[in-house]
């Protein structure tokens, strides 16, 4: 039926007579569009306990279809970072490391955006995106190309992509001295629909970064020699694999989603995570979800909370993000379809970071904290 052919006069007569029958054709206005206009606006609040970082993010995006097989996408982000961030650890009473936070509260305003274009050719879809991000001490431009291919009657989707980013990093003391950091990302993925109720998704990602990978705001405390700037190797190779399984279970009239990921890099940071989510539709166009996540990582080879002597190798950090730690989180959300075109979503998660949950290396109790994420999203489709 998909083939276009001229309609015979007989068929035209039948069709015209059938069109006159009430209720044989759906009203065009009710038929869902395959390629809708879409607008999203999100406000997100991220806050860490103990007066640490607080981030407020406003994001808006638009998808504009052009014909059936082409679309443009634009995305804008503005965020405001405030609060204090740990700069280094210093020996406290009994030699236990203690954090030293920034004295003055940090305030930074980031503006970021990207534009993209997608084109579909039969079962192929190609998406090219170009993005920019700008704040006082960090500038980034990035480009990505992603290809998706549907086969096996759309039961299988293969995806492959490449992204390249070129970042400039400075700090408040030398605001015009931007140092370069380059990152290249490669990924491949497969989505397989198993049956009408379940699907599995696997992906593999490799990234290679080089240039100035240190954090210009961080210091390390060396017992014998005072404070030295954070210094990290100038190359980083990361490999990550992730899997996701979603299944609708009629017995509980709900869907369950399980996700897991593993990653490793040449700095010695290995991480793993598992997440379980329950999703249920409720009468009245409500969708609720709730879940939990466990994350664990080992510390980087060159990480130490404190250094007794200057490390022989020119690689040192006390950054809590490269420490060994783990976290447990709960997450919950609710989405309400207000009209066929508008929906609103509230979501929250709360993460408990604990050094005791690390999967190797070292970390410190002083880096235990709680962070929360709250977001509200308005979505429109036409």
């Amino acid at each position: 039926m998909a083939a276009i052919r001229l309609v015979s006069p007989q068929l035209a007569a039948f069709t015209a007579a059938a069109m006159a029958l009430p209720g044989v054709h759906a009203r065009a206005a009710d038929a869902p569009r395959e390629n809708p206009w879409a607008f999203d606006a999100t406000h997100m609040e991220y806050s860490e306990s103990g007066g640490r970082m607080n981030v407020r993010v406003n994001q808006a995006s638009a998808i504009i279809p052009i014909g059936d097989s082409f679309q443009l996408k634009a995305n804008g982000i503005q965020d405001l970072v405030s609060g204090a961030s740990p700069i280094f650890n210093a020996p406290g009473p009994g030699g236990k490391p203690q954090q030293v936070l920034t004295g003055a509260s940090v305030r930074d305003n980031r503006k970021a955006g990207d534009i993209g274009a997608s084109a579909a050719f039969g079962d192929n879809q190609l998406t090219l995106r170009q993005g920019w991000s700008n704040e006082n001490d960090y500038k980034s431009t990035w480009t990505s190309l992603e290809s998706r291919y549907d086969l096996n009657r759309k039961n299988t989707t293969l995806a492959a992509g490449f992204a390249f980013s070129n970042d400039g990093v400075s700090n408040h003391d030398t605001p015009d001295d931007f140092r370069t950091r380059i990152k290249r990302d490669f990924f491949v993925g497969i989505t397989q629909v198993i049956d009408e109720r379940s699907l599995v998704q696997l992906s593999l990602e490799y990234s290679y970064s080089n240039g100035f990978l240190s954090d210009p705001y961080k210091l390390v405390f060396v017992q014998s020699g005072g404070l030295l700037p954070d210094a990290r190797p100038s190359q980083r190779r990361q490999t990550a694999a992730s899997a996701k399984y979603v299944s609708f279970i009629p017995a509980i009239d709900s869907a369950l989603q399980a996700m897991g990921s593993l990653s490793t890099d040449n700095w010695g940071v290995r991480s793993g995570s598992v997440e379980l989510q329950w999703k249920k539709e409720l009468p009245g166009e409500w969708l609720v979800n709730a879940g939990a996540r466990y994350y664990t990582q080992s510390s980087a080879d060159f990480y130490a909370p404190l250094y007794e002597t200057t490390p022989a190798r020119d690689a040192r950090t006390s950054d809590y993000r490269l420490a060994g730690f783990g976290s447990l989180a709960w997450l919950a959300g609710v989405t309400k379809q207000l009209t066929p075109n508008f929906s609103i979503q509230f979501a929250a998660e709360r993460n408990y970071r604990r050094v005791g949950l690390r999967s190797g290396g070292t970390g410190i109790d002083a880096d235990n904290y709680i962070w929360g994420l709250y977001l509200v999203t308005l979505q429109a489709r036409f």
Partner: protein, 310 residues
């Protein structure tokens, strides 16, 4: 994200009987409450049409028309009945008079308890009371100048009901599913992953076998055959599709299934092909409707037969 949405969908099946057939609404949905409300609305509409156009109920529109047709006279019909009569008139014109709403009186000569062939004189007498051209149809007035005629909507109502039930579901927002009224099927939309519905067409001589399988993403399929209702006289099979020209059961085709956008078009085209006997398949090709046929010698043909054997 779209795909995790897909995985939330479950297939709900609502079997019921109506119009003398086993029927079913199949819908993919997220929650059971909304989908059963929709399936109930769809099946209620099928039952409404069953009651409205039943030949067996005395309170049906068909019975009302036939009370007038029996004695001669005129009757004004409602808007829905009028569009069905317009549709019947189109079928009559497109089939050179073979598809005829008035040919039901011929059944008197081929009742199930008959053990011998009807006399030619009986057929001649019945044929005198057959013919849409003998009816004056001027919307909304239907006039019978000859007494003893009879009208039968059976040739289109089931297919029309399948179309309407599917549209009720589509307009309620369901995008994946189908409506099956005794093998007359209108697709609401493909499986959530985009895969087609695979429809098996029953073999006209072996109820347990499939003559062809069709992949349908959209549109409709309807089947007409000599096997659903027939009588045997002296070991010979006489089907229920009667020619308004000869008054006898059609020969040539054992069954034909037609695919079209609307089930009502698929069904009337399949019936016309049966009435056209050996010319049926060529006519469907000329009209441009994909189909598969099997003749009484069990030979198969049609573009969809080729698709099946691949």
């Amino acid at each position: 994200m779209a795909q995790s949405h897909i995985a939330m969908l479950a297939l709900f099946r609502f079997p019921f009987s109506a119009m003398g057939s086993r029927c079913e609404v199949r819908l993919y949905a997220h929650d059971g409450a909304r989908v059963s409300a929709c399936a109930q609305a769809a099946t209620a509409d099928v039952r409404r049409l069953d009651a409205k156009y039943s030949r067996y109920r005395t309170d049906s529109v068909t019975a009302g028309i036939n009370r007038v047709a029996a004695v001669g006279g005129a009757i004004d019909v409602d808007a829905e009945t009028a569009t069905l009569l317009d549709y019947a008139e189109t079928c009559f014109e497109q089939s050179d008079g073979l598809f005829d709403f008035t040919s039901g009186v011929l059944r008197e000569a081929w009742s199930p308890d008959r053990t011998t062939l009807p006399e030619p004189a009986l057929l001649e007498a019945l044929l005198a009371r057959v013919g849409w051209s003998k009816v004056r149809w001027e919307r909304p007035r239907l006039a019978f100048d000859i007494a003893g005629m009879e009208l039968d909507f059976g040739g289109v109502v089931k297919e029309y009901a399948a179309d309407r039930a599917a549209v009720i579901c589509a307009e309620a927002g369901f995008q994946h599913g189908l409506v099956d009224l005794g093998g007359d099927i209108r697709i609401i939309g493909p499986h959530p992953d985009g895969a087609p519905w695979i429809v098996g067409i029953q073999h006209p001589r072996d109820p347990a076998a499939v003559m062809a399988t069709l992949d349908l993403f959209r549109g409709a399929v309807a089947t007409s055959g000599d096997y659903e209702r027939f009588i045997e006289i002296d070991g010979r099979r006489y089907g229920h599709i009667l020619s308004p020209r000869t008054g006898t059961p059609v020969r040539g085709l054992a069954g034909v299934s037609v695919v079209a956008e609307e089930c009502v078009v698929a069904g009337s085209a399949a019936t016309i092909a049966m009435l056209m006997e050996e010319r049926g398949s060529a006519w469907l090709e000329e009209v441009g409707l994909p189909h598969v046929w099997m003749d009484q010698a069990l030979r198969m043909g049609g573009i969809l037969a080729a698709a099946t054997t691949q």
